[in-house]
């Protein structure tokens, strides 16, 4: 039985001007060296970045490649050729939706991805674990990335301090 479970074999974001890697993550050993990975990424980029190629999906060297272009980057989700194309698309959509959710609907671009690298990588980690889809609901994923945790301690402390001092002053005043 070909595996449905290991949906994603690799994920990468490439710069859409030259095709250089922004970030990448490989989930099996098909490309076991950085060189092989980059060679594959170049091949994928060459095929998908052509202006008149049309978008979103293609088949290359026995891999299914689903992708989405943004102003200066392209985000790729790659799966085995027997993978369910739509499953792969769903993963890509989950990733993009979650980022959009986390970045409050700012335009996704290289700057956003890199400046918020912690969110980008955590999102990926919450969606895919060793190629297996962990979660698909972008609201749940955003939650797990840890964004809704109690606010930052530095801030808390200062507020707490402020509150305490007000309390104290009030207390003193009442005395």
């Amino acid at each position: 039985m070909s595996s449905f479970l290991y949906t994603v074999t690799s994920f990468f974001i490439l710069d859409s001007s030259k095709g250089e890697r922004v970030i990448a993550k490989y989930y099996n050993n098909d490309f076991d060296t950085l060189q092989k990975q980059k060679a594959f990424e170049k091949k994928v980029f060459d095929k998908t970045s052509k202006v008149n190629f049309g978008g979103e999906i293609t088949l290359l060297d026995n891999y299914l490649v689903v992708y989405k272009s943004f102003s200066n980057i392209i985000i790729y989700m790659v799966g085995d050729q027997n993978q369910n194309e739509i499953a792969l698309l769903y993963v890509l959509n989950s990733f993009i939706d979650t980022l959009q959710n986390l970045f409050e609907n700012s335009q996704i671009n290289k700057k956003l991805i890199l400046d918020g690298i912690n969110y980008t990588l955590l999102t990926l980690d919450e969606i895919i674990d060793g190629g297996i889809i962990m979660e698909s609901d972008s609201a749940v994923i955003a939650d797990r990335v840890g964004i809704k945790a109690p606010d930052n301690d530095d801030l808390d402390e200062s507020i707490n301090k402020a509150v305490t001092s007000v309390k104290e002053q009030l207390f003193n005043f009442l005395k």
């Binding site: 039985m1 070909s2 449905f4 479970l5 890697r21 922004v22 970030i23 990448a24 993550k25 950085l34 980059k38 095929k47 052509k50 008149n52 190629f53 049309g54 978008g55 979103e56 999906i57 293609t58 088949l59 290359l60 060297d61 026995n62 369910n84 194309e85 739509i86 499953a87 792969l88 698309l89 769903y90 986390l102 970045f103 409050e104 700012s106 290289k110 700057k111 956003l112 890199l114 400046d115 690298i117 912690n118 969110y119 990588l121 955590l122 980690d125 674990d129 060793g130 297996i132 889809i133 962990m134 979660e135 698909s136 749940v140 797990r144 840890g146 964004i147 945790a149 930052n152 301690d153």
Partner: protein, 898 residues
């Protein structure tokens, strides 16, 4: 939230991380040791590490270990976002760092923490650093997490367990009850992960799987992922058990109606792979795909058309309802979709709609690039085999591409395609020639003009009105460059030779070329004129009509060798040139498979996924062979033991005696001398931990009386990866007949183990042997190819008294094409009069072959063949003519026992 991150870093650079230096970041891990911990600072440093990892920077073991240990300090922080990042960093580094198990106690402590995020992430790291010795101690955390209500924790535990199943299957299998319980978790994802794990636990027990699957079918799972997974399980059960139980098929069919596209698609594509599928099933599956074809989402269209493309191979009629929808996809902006649509349509195309289809494709030609046009050309060409009657439309279509703007590569592919059509469908000749004549009036590529002129010269004189072409050809002499003029002159001469009424005119035209400024043009014209005046038809034929009968590379090498040897007492004999490369199919004829069946896969859109390595290794072989035989004679004559054997008469092709991926790879070349045969064994040792010495091949003949053992030359030392040769020589007496027999073979050698890291040998080693495939001496080893100008004339000249006629049947040979190939291969002779070209789908054929014995007696063979009534065997009537009856018998013996 993003703005918060940006505020801090905006002042630095546009892309904060892009020029990040690894060494610098490693220094900054100090921040982890500060007390109190500054969450923001630490988060930033972790983010930088994570970025470096995902960018592809590599960390040494020491670096990774240092960072890993520093990061463990952060377990003290209560800042949740920081903790989340820390977990990810530990997980990423756990596989590079040493002694990662040190964090197990901290992680297990987290396992009882009240915050779910801690528990979920801790377990994901645990699964990475644990092994079968540790797992029993922390097993309870897994079991308890699997059954947790919180989906985050439960999913993390289940997915981690799936990974662990590869490490310690026995332990994970003990958790089956907990996993079963998790299937009823409210979360969709947990349900999916639990199903996958449970299925994998039971994977090796067919009955258990089948029970699990049928139970879950009744349970009605909600998760789309679980449903998709269950569909694949059903397919597996159906395929492996051939169950009569309808419930698996019914489940899949019910999933076709799912609102979730992924599930409906999974069901549809599964049904398309079923071997015995009912019309009802396939129709509803195709119906789902048809809907997808009209979707606005490219992925859905792609998925549907890809599946239909596959289905068209096994069940074309089922695809027909989608034809209209697919025609709309021909212009899809996504080229992959358009390609699949075209190849699918061509697969299911029929006589009535193919014309319209071609027109449709012609309409959008302007919108697509050259690379894709080549795909289209290939696909269209394959139609010529399927619908020979439509040649007119095909030729016109191809010509349109030829005339439009385009690269040489595209034009060449198109011209090749036209030649293929002309070769396959003789009726198409005239229209193709007319169109091509028009084209060369205005052709920017001299290469193409030359090829076209060659074709016109070859075929033009044989058409109904040859005169009409002359004007076009002579125009080239007047208007074009030297190389084209030369080709045109040759083409003109061919008309004079092949079409008697034009001979005088041709002579006049040739005379006009005598003053051409180009040497080549003048030389050609002079030569042809002289031959026409002497009316030397035989020689004209040879000069004008015969292709060089051997690969040009080989001819060049042979000529060089001939000149190098400096012995000109015998004239150079073209028959001595190796033809081995000819096993390579002529690109014009295609290889029975036609671009059609591989349609999309050709240009990287591999749908069928043909293994490329296979092709590559074939190519290698061919390269080797083409460089091989010419140098054999020189190489062998340098071996003292063989120096007395005389002239090398023939070398066979390579015969593999092992699989190509075994420990020792051996192939053999047979070298035939007048009284000797030398077996050259090319041996390769593919084991880097072994060195072989004293390597030889022991050959045991099936009939020892026929021959005498002469000598054997072993290989002294055969290190890893360097092919070397050992030889065995035998002697035979030609007067007693050739030694047709077979040998069983074994490779004998001494093995010494090598330490691959140091290269040290483990003395003294031991003797071993390795058995090889059998090897045969066959009649073809003693037959050479020969070339004659006009086969039918020579054939008539030979007396019928000594001819030998034999009929037999090639069992299991289902097509004429295959039969032709097999006969040529068995006899090793050269086909004459292009009789190796078989009209597609014909049921009978005549093949002419010429060859000669080692003492240069010519042999002519005519093979008449036809498919028998069952269409599974080919009946052959073989007629052999030569001056020597015993030679005839010898030739026919090649087919005995076949």
């Amino acid at each position: 939230m993003a703005s918060r991150v940006q505020k801090k870093d905006d002042d630095e650079s546009d892309f904060l991380f892009e020029n990040l230096d690894k060494g610098q970041v490693i220094q900054e891990k100090r921040a982890f040791n500060e007390s109190p911990i500054h969450p923001r600072k630490c988060s930033l440093v972790i983010s930088q590490f994570l970025y470096l990892l995902s960018r592809g920077d590599s960390f040494t073991k020491t670096e990774a270990t240092d960072i890993f240990f520093a990061a463990t300090k952060l377990f003290q922080s209560k800042d949740i976002p920081l903790r989340r990042l820390m977990y990810l960093l530990l997980k990423e580094l756990s596989t590079i760092s040493q002694d990662a198990i040190i964090v197990i106690s901290s992680l297990t402590k987290d396992m009882s923490h009240k915050i779910e995020l801690y528990r979920a992430n801790a377990i994901r790291i645990l699964c990475k650093i644990t092994d079968s010795s540790i797992l029993p101690q922390i097993e309870r955390y897994f079991k308890q997490s699997i059954v947790e209500k919180d989906p985050h924790v439960s999913s993390a535990a289940l997915v981690s367990s799936i990974h662990l199943l590869k490490v310690c299957p026995e332990i994970v299998k003990r958790w089956a009850n907990e996993v079963q319980e998790a299937i009823s978790n409210k979360s969709n994802m947990v349900q999916y992960h639990a199903l996958a794990l449970l299925h994998r636990i039971k994977q090796h027990d067919r009955l258990a799987v089948s029970k699990l699957v049928s139970n879950l079918i009744k349970n009605s799972l909600r998760s789309p992922y679980a449903q998709s997974y269950l569909i694949r399980c059903c397919v597996e059960v159906i395929e492996e058990t051939n169950t009569e139980d309808r419930i698996f098929r019914e489940y899949i069919e019910s999933c076709l109606r799912s609102k979730n596209e992924m599930v409906a698609y999974e069901a549809a594509r599964s049904i398309c792979t079923f071997k015995n599928v009912s019309n009802k099933e396939i129709n509803s599956a195709v119906g789902v795909l048809q809907n997808f074809l009209n979707s606005t989402k490219p992925t859905l269209r792609f998925a549907a058309v890809r599946t239909l493309n596959k289905l068209a191979q096994t069940n074309p009629t089922a695809v027909i309802p989608c034809n209209l929808d697919m025609e709309n996809l021909i212009t899809d902006t996504n080229r992959s979709i358009a390609t699949l649509a075209i190849t699918t349509l061509l697969k299911v195309g029929n006589e009535s709609n193919v014309e319209r289809l071609i027109k449709q494709i012609a309409n959008f030609l302007g919108d697509i690039n050259d690379e894709f046009k080549i795909v289209v050309v290939d696909a269209i060409t394959s139609l010529s085999q399927k619908f020979p009657k439509k040649y007119k439309h095909l030729i016109i279509f191809l010509n349109k591409i030829l005339r439009d703007e385009g690269t040489l590569q595209l034009k060449q592919a198109t011209l090749d395609a036209i030649l293929t059509v002309v070769n396959n469908i003789p009726e198409s000749k005239e229209i193709a020639l007319t169109e091509l004549c028009d084209y060369i009036e205005d052709c920017d590529f001299p290469d193409l003009s030359v090829q076209i002129l060659h074709l016109i010269g070859q075929e033009g004189p044989l058409t109904s009105s040859p005169a009409q072409y002359m004007r076009y050809i002579y125009n080239r002499v007047l208007l074009d460059g030297g190389i084209i003029r030369a080709a045109a002159v040759t083409s003109i001469a061919k008309f004079g030779l092949l079409y008697e009424p034009m001979k005088e005119k041709v002579v006049i035209l040739l005379q006009r070329c005598l003053l051409d400024e180009d040497d080549e043009v003048r030389d050609r014209a002079t030569l042809y004129l002289k031959l026409f005046k002497e009316n030397d038809v035989r020689y004209l034929n040879k000069v004008l009509m015969d292709d060089v009968p051997v690969p040009l590379n080989n001819l060049q090498k042979s000529l060089e060798l001939y000149l190098h040897q400096g012995d000109f007492s015998e004239p150079f004999d073209i028959a001595s040139v190796s033809t081995v490369v000819e096993t390579y199919q002529s690109p014009l004829l295609g290889d029975g498979k036609s671009p059609f069946s591989t349609g999309a896969s050709k240009k990287g859109d591999s749908v069928t996924g043909t293994p490329k390595s296979n092709n590559a290794s074939n190519n290698n072989n061919n390269n080797e062979e083409s460089s091989g035989p010419e140098s054999f004679a020189t190489k062998l004559s340098q071996i003292p033991q063989f120096s007395t054997f005389g002239k090398l008469l023939k070398s066979s092709e390579y015969i593999e005696l092992t699989e190509t991926e075994t420990e020792y790879v051996v192939n053999c070349v047979k070298h035939i001398y007048r009284e000797h045969i030398v077996f050259q064994f090319n041996c390769t040792n593919t084991l880097n931990e072994q060195q072989l010495s004293n390597v030889s091949v022991k050959m045991v003949p099936s009939d020892p009386k026929l021959l005498k053992y002469e000598c054997s030359i072993p290989i002294d030392v055969l290190p890893y990866g360097e092919p070397q040769q050992c030889y065995v020589a035998i002697r035979y007496i030609p007067a007693n007949g050739y030694p047709l027999c077979s040998f069983s073979n074994a490779l004998k050698f001494k093995v010494k183990e090598v330490d691959p890291s140091t290269g040290e040998l483990d003395e003294p080693g031991y003797d071993d042997q390795y058995s090889l495939e059998r090897l045969e001496i066959v009649p073809k080893d003693f037959l050479n190819r020969a070339f004659v100008g006009n086969f039918s004339e020579e054939w008539k000249k030979m007396s019928e008294d000594t001819q030998l006629v034999q009929t037999f049947s090639l069992v299991g040979v289902k097509s004429i094409d295959e039969a032709v190939k097999q006969i040529i291969k068995t006899l090793g002779m050269a086909p004459a009069e292009k009789s190796e070209v078989v009209t597609p789908k014909s049921a009978k054929h005549i093949l002419y072959l010429t060859g000669k014995s080692l003492n240069n007696q010519l042999i002519y063979v005519r093979a008449r063949m036809k498919l028998d009534q069952s269409q599974t065997n080919t009946d052959v009537e073989l007629t052999i003519k030569s001056d020597d009856e015993s030679l005839n018998d010898f030739v026919i013996s090649a087919f005995i026992e076949k």
